[in-house]
């Protein structure tokens, strides 16, 4: 009885009695959710265009951030480091398309998944070898990102907003808007959608699959870089981020593999949900629930809606 009260009554009492704290928790979760959504966005871009489940997206985030900081450490000014990192991600996209994807066309999805896990190992090894395996701090100020925080007095309490978090949310919204325009208004964007719809039909009207794949991987690389900068600015940059990036997989399940709005809403659901659960229900379970909350949420969710929030309905014929 006491346990039931602890689970079903007390957390809500806490929430209502300290609304400023609740707002703070939701805000923290929202920002984390934006970052999950960005990683998931990179997955969705690639999955839509090439049917590859890109396990390496998480490591690409870390790799991009590491490269940016590493190049800056070698003496390049921030703007040059940024440009060089973008160039590096472009080079990476072309290499992956040439060396890996082109050879694995039409293979089973598990094999493509394995190839990207192999890619994860390579990127991790190269990144650690070139830029060092230690923890680094992101060059937030050099990039012109705001630091500091503002307070907001509400309900007799104070809610603290880190400026970098606000910037992250704004940049994420801008990036999604840019992608939406890019997809619907430009020639390449339309070609991307054509490829996503039907590979063979796209080929037959003269769209180059190889080119499109390279562009998509490059776009994911840029998304990864932005995610890496934002994430790195909130905590430090290290290869341990990879485990956190795995949570984007749970986000994908919630949103569906092929839906960009799904990735965003799924990301926010996971981000806010896990923070609320950890703060209000976590102590009952002994804490540390953030490690599994996203996956268990996804698992329970899937039992009721196997195609995800916005996924296409699966119809099978024998």
């Amino acid at each position: 009885m006491e346990l039931l009260q602890q689970i079903f009554v007390l957390p809500f009492v806490d929430m209502v009695s300290m609304p400023d704290f609740l707002i703070q928790v939701v805000w923290e979760g929202f920002v984390a959710g934006v970052l999950y959504a960005l990683i998931a966005l990179g997955f969705v871009l690639i999955y839509k265009a090439s049917g590859v489940f890109n396990f390496a997206q998480g490591i690409m985030v870390v790799f991009a951030a590491m490269a940016l900081v590493g190049i800056h450490d070698m003496g390049a000014p921030a703007w040059l480091a940024l440009l060089l990192t973008i160039a590096l991600m472009g080079l990476l996209a072309i290499t992956i398309e040439r060396v890996v994807l082109r050879k694995l066309v039409n293979q089973h999805e598990a094999i493509l998944l394995m190839a990207t896990i192999g890619l994860t190992l390579v990127l991790k090894g190269v990144g650690e070898l070139v830029f060092g395996g230690g923890t680094k701090s992101m060059i937030t100020e050099e990039l012109g990102l705001p630091t500091g925080s503002s307070d907001w007095e509400v309900f007799g309490g104070i809610v603290i907003f880190q400026h970098i978090d606000i910037a992250a949310a704004v940049i994420a919204i801008l990036m999604v808007a840019t992608l939406a325009v890019f997809f619907s208004k430009t020639r390449i964007g339309r070609a991307l959608r054509a490829v996503a719809d039907d590979h063979q039909a796209a080929l037959s009207v003269g769209i180059s699959l190889h080119q499109i794949w390279a562009i998509v991987w490059f776009a994911s690389g840029i998304v990864a870089l932005v995610t890496g900068i934002m994430w790195g600015a909130r905590s430090d940059v290290s290869f341990a981020l990879e485990i956190i990036a795995l949570k984007a997989l749970a986000v994908l399940i919630l949103g569906g593999f092929t839906s960009i709005p799904g990735a965003i809403i799924g990301g926010l659901m996971v981000g806010i949900g896990e923070k609320l659960f950890e703060v209000y229900w976590g102590p009952i379970f002994g804490g540390g629930t953030e490690a599994w909350f996203a996956y268990v949420l996804a698992l329970i969710f899937l039992l009721f809606r196997p195609q995800g929030l916005f996924g296409e309905r699966i119809i099978e014929r024998v």
Binding site: V100, A115, L303
Partner: protein, 361 residues
């Protein structure tokens, strides 16, 4: 050359149904068995046994478990590391609660706990499949890992949070704990692995195994033909997790001697998946080839710089070995997506048609 079935006639149904119908296969297997049971314990050093052979066998057993699920029943899983953990912790609890019962019994029993965990986390497979399922198995991985840390009862409220293997004896010889010699532990593992491989081979070609393969090839068609997906999928999860659980128990009791939760983390799940895919999905031989490849390769790579006399930091060799393994995985997937086992099959075909390679068989 010498490998052909010409002239080997079968005169009974039993002979026709034999596990190894070709004489050369039987001789080959016998030679391998003699080598691993007699030759290796006699000549191998302790290092070779405890750093190469024992882990290789443990991972081969886990790979068989995952291969049953992924290769034969077509359900992709990323949670095998956690199921190994369930086996290990179950075995630890069992042997500390009932110290008088033989440890081998405990090791074999602990697999059942892993099987139950596997069935619970296999439930979503009834509604979802493919990559979606793979990600839900991550829920098993992270949730179980969390349990291993947060439930102190599992490691007997030990301050270090690790499970320490107590010394246990069989017929007066220590087989676990610090007193057991590598040779004894090797033989124990080898026996269990050999028996369980034989069991798996027979289950897989029997009624259950064939229902798994039907589910893999097309589940709706299989259902129309009278296979119950509920039973087929959950039994595959249970069987697979049983093998993983026993492998996990062996990993702690006969190899590491003590283990923390890191021994069952997601990287080990990936490691086992690598073994299955590199070795060959849907092949028992592939499990052994894959385990040997993935386990031995990093050891070789780490030994290369010192053998060449190059002075290199341990971290650097670690990174280089990561890169090389990653490249090799991609290379193998491109060259032979069906794994090392397929290479062996191709070699057998070549031997059969030698010296007339263009002859149609």
């Amino acid at each position: 050359m010498f490998y052909r079935e010409a002239g080997q006639y079968k005169t009974s149904y039993a002979a026709d149904q034999a596990l190894l119908p070709i004489l050369q296969d039987r001789i080959g297997l016998l030679m391998i068995l003699v080598a691993v049971f007699v030759l290796i314990p006699l000549i191998a050093t302790d290092f070779f046994l405890s750093a190469i052979m024992i882990p290789f066998l443990v991972f081969a057993l886990a790979a068989i478990g995952l291969n049953v699920l992924t290769g034969y029943a077509g359900q992709l899983s990323l949670g095998s590391g956690a199921f190994m953990g369930v086996g290990a912790y179950a075995c630890y609890k069992l042997t500390t609660l009932f110290p008088d019962v033989n440890i081998i019994v405990h090791i074999l029993l602990s697999g059942f706990f892993a099987a139950i965990a596997g069935m619970v986390f296999g439930l979503p497979s009834l509604r979802i499949k493919g990559l979606y399922l793979a990600i839900t198995t991550l829920a098993a991985q992270f949730f179980l890992e969390w349990c291993f840390i947060r439930i102190p009862w599992l490691y007997n409220f030990n301050d270090s949070g690790a499970i320490e293997v107590p010394g246990r004896k069989l017929l007066g010889i220590s087989i676990t704990g610090p007193l057991a010699t590598p040779t004894v532990r090797y033989l124990v593992i080898l026996t269990i692995v050999a028996v369980m491989t034989l069991l798996a081979a027979n289950v897989l070609r029997g009624r259950i195994g064939r229902s798994w393969m039907m589910i893999r090839d097309m589940d709706i068609a299989a259902e129309l033909m009278g296979i119950r997906p509920l039973y087929a999928k959950l039994s595959a999860f249970a069987f697979s997790s049983y093998y993983c659980g026993v492998a996990g128990a062996l990993l702690v009791f006969c190899w590491l001697g003590s283990a923390e939760v890191e021994a069952f983390d997601i990287n080990h799940s990936f490691l086992i998946l690598f073994m299955v895919i590199i070795g060959g999905m849907g092949s028992l031989l592939g499990c052994f080839l894959g385990a040997a490849f993935i386990w031995v390769l990093p050891i070789v790579i780490r030994a290369v710089p010192s053998a060449l006399g190059i002075d290199m930091l341990a971290a650097t060799t670690e990174h280089i070995s990561n890169i090389v393994i990653g490249i090799l995985i991609i290379f193998f997937l491109i060259v032979e997506p069906h794994g090392l086992a397929r290479l062996w099959q191709i070699a057998k075909e070549k031997l059969r048609t030698w010296p007339f390679p263009y002859a149609t068989t």
